[in-house]
């Protein structure tokens, strides 16, 4: 700010520093004005979003082959909608994701709260084991789940939606630690005097939990739930090992379709999935935003 308000005219610059290579005084934090920063930003966005944008654009391509643009059409959305196998897989995925989100959020929040609130023997070990599913390679989790369900003789061939049970359990198992970690991180910033103030003002433990702790935890809960939802919705590896022929999820179905050819149908279905996740994210962020005061 100071340099822009300096009243005295700057002394004449030497000729060599004029023009393109002139060094201008820069505001300290105005990195957005620097060329290298702009290039860097552009490249990051291009790498992140170019594939996704291509996928969305080619879902409207009027061609069997996904290589050359041949005009706009919505017929592949129609075809994807009418593809019973794809549609079923889609419904399966959404069902699993919703159930998994509910359970993972409850279990994860409880674990997060326990780790934040209490001291108990072997807490460090407990915390480490709890977070294991975050670091274990997915392929190991998948095989473990497969062996586990085979060993206990998990019933197969049940009517929908009960046939999704094993996949849902596997999804809850690997997504609740993420919720726990997020909730715990959120609670780390909680001022314990708030809890004491609530008790001091006459609230019971339960009233304190619902009236003071839960509202504080809410952004963490929403973020954790969103994480669990997206993790479940797009999981392939673990699902692949726990799904049977009658319990195909969307990622598994897409994989089997792509093995023959990448059709715009897959693009269309993927686009719908992207839109659903984006809408879920926007809703979650709206809920998380502080309320505007009137």
């Amino acid at each position: 700010m100071a340099d822009t308000t300096a009243p005295a005219a700057p002394p004449a610059r030497p000729a060599a520093t004029r023009g393109w290579f002139r060094r201008r005084a820069q505001e300290p934090l105005a990195y957005g004005k620097r060329l290298w920063m702009r290039v860097f930003l552009f490249m990051t966005f291009a790498l992140l979003y170019a594939p996704i944008i291509t996928l969305v654009i080619f879902s409207f391509n009027d061609s069997r082959r996904n290589i050359v643009w041949r005009g706009f059409t919505l017929k592949y959305y129609e075809r994807a909608w009418n593809n019973d196998g794809l549609f079923e897989a889609f419904v399966n995925s959404l069902t699993i994701a919703v159930v998994c989100t509910i359970f993972a959020t409850i279990i994860g929040a409880t674990v997060g709260l326990t780790l934040w609130r209490f001291r108990f023997p072997f807490k460090g070990a407990y915390e480490g084991f709890m977070a294991l599913p975050i670091v274990i390679p997915e392929i190991c989790m998948g095989v473990a789940m497969l062996v586990f369900f085979a060993r206990i003789g998990w019933p197969t061939g049940m009517p929908w939606p009960f046939n999704l049970g094993s996949i849902t359990i596997a999804h809850i198992a690997f997504s609740f630690p993420f919720v726990a970690v997020v909730v715990r991180a959120r609670m780390a910033g909680f001022n314990r005097e708030l809890e004491e103030a609530s008790r001091d003002l006459g609230a019971s433990e339960w009233q304190t939990f619902t009236g003071v702790i839960l509202p504080y935890m809410r952004p963490g809960l929403i973020a954790g739930a969103l994480l669990a939802f997206t993790l479940s919705l797009d999981d392939f590896v673990i699902t692949f090992f726990t799904s049977g022929p009658d319990t195909v999820t969307f990622p598994v179905k897409v994989y089997s379709m792509v093995r023959f050819s990448v059709t715009p149908e897959v693009n269309a279905a993927s686009t719908v999935l992207i839109v659903i996740t984006m809408i879920a994210t926007i809703i979650a962020m709206r809920l998380q935003a502080p309320h505007k005061t009137e």
Partner: protein
């Protein structure tokens, strides 16, 4: 047990091997403004939290209005607390914060609103009822915490370092306001503070604590002018503590020999013999360039240092091996020019302003 609102009986609290509060007993009268004063880590906050029920006592009993409290959880005690961080609920408006205590107690909705309005009026916060805590200043947040506690009509209001987060001007203003508020609502206030000005200016009685023990409980004036031990004399206000030894005890006086000053007669203290500590407050000492007449205690020294504060100055006078601090009022604009570092001066004070303390 009559005429006591809070009664502390042989209360101790230890955390592992660390003893935070060590066998403390005292009574707080109804409608009293009582201050717990001490350096940080002396156990004053722990004691306050035990009264609130937020800590359990390791030993001893706490009575509030005649009732023993050890089995009563904090939400059932007739006390409310203003926390050091104010602990205003961030997700609630000012109004909801104040109403919280009434709501959880199951007061009917239509009774809550007028009580909340009255409480906000009492702490001079009307018109901010709909605001969120993050839209308030520190002073306003503190008023919310105060209203939230007072609306419950507690028998005792506990204040944990309530003014420490405010700037100096606001703090001075709030000291007066808290004192007035206490007189108006007629509730027993217990305030914890490490700031002696706060304790002396607001409280009816002050308890000075040191490492878990009460060192003295008295009214502010008595506490300042008649400290019973060296710690209290040193902690409350500024003081010159001089090593001395008793030479004789003629009649009602004690004659003590102070290094560099010589034999001085002082009114007799309870157990004065052998090595003692002589205390004199800096503002009780007078300085002059000319030799004073008929004063019992006088000594000649040289001004070695000078700290100027505007309204007052502290002058350090070296007398032999003894350094005395002297507080002088800058009564005229010329006062500070009349003396300077290096000047030889006479210092005098009255024997009645001298205290003998146990070392």
């Amino acid at each position: 047990m009559t005429d006591s609102m809070v009664s502390i009986r042989n209360v101790s609290k230890s955390f592992g091997s660390f003893v935070a509060v060590d066998d403390v007993s005292f009574d707080i009268r109804p409608n009293e403004f009582f201050a717990l004063l001490g350096p940080s880590g002396c156990g004053k906050t722990t004691l306050l939290r035990m009264i609130a029920g937020l800590e359990t006592t390791t030993e001893g009993e706490i009575f509030i209005d005649g009732e023993e409290m050890s089995t009563v959880p904090p939400n059932r005690r007739p006390v409310n607390m203003v926390f050091q961080s104010y602990a205003v609920f961030p997700h609630m408006s000012v109004e909801d914060n104040v109403a919280y205590g009434l709501k959880v107690a199951g007061h009917p909705r239509n009774e809550i609103a007028p009580l909340v309005a009255e409480a906000l009026d009492m702490v001079q916060l009307p018109g901010l009822a709909k605001r969120k805590p993050d839209q308030l200043s520190g002073g306003q947040r503190q008023r919310v915490a105060l209203a939230r506690a007072l609306v419950k009509r507690p028998k005792v209001l506990l204040l944990d370092e309530p003014l420490s987060a405010l700037d100096a001007k606001l703090r001075e203003h709030m000291q007066l306001e808290l004192a007035h508020l206490q007189q108006r609502v007629g509730i027993t206030f217990i305030i914890v503070t490490h700031d002696q000005d706060e304790a002396l200016s607001m409280a009816d009685r002050v308890a000075v604590m040191e490492s878990g023990k009460i060192r003295q409980i008295d009214e502010p004036g008595t506490m300042y002018e008649n400290p019973t031990n060296r710690f209290v004399a040193d902690f409350i206000g500024r003081v010159n503590l001089l090593d001395a030894s008793v030479t004789s005890t003629p009649g009602t006086d004690v004659v003590v020999a102070i290094d560099g000053i010589g034999a001085v007669p002082v009114p007799k203290a309870a157990s004065a013999s052998g090595k003692v500590c002589v205390a004199v407050r800096p503002e009780k000492i007078a300085v002059s360039k000319t030799e004073p007449e008929d004063t019992a205690i006088r000594a000649r020294g040289r001004i070695s240092d000078w700290a100027y504060y505007g309204d007052v100055s502290t002058m350090y006078v070296q007398i032999g091996g003894t350094r005395l601090s002297v507080l002088i009022q800058n009564e005229t604009r010329e006062t500070m020019n009349s003396l300077d570092i290096g000047d030889d001066v006479w210092v005098t004070w009255s024997p009645t302003d001298t205290l003998i303390l146990d070392t």
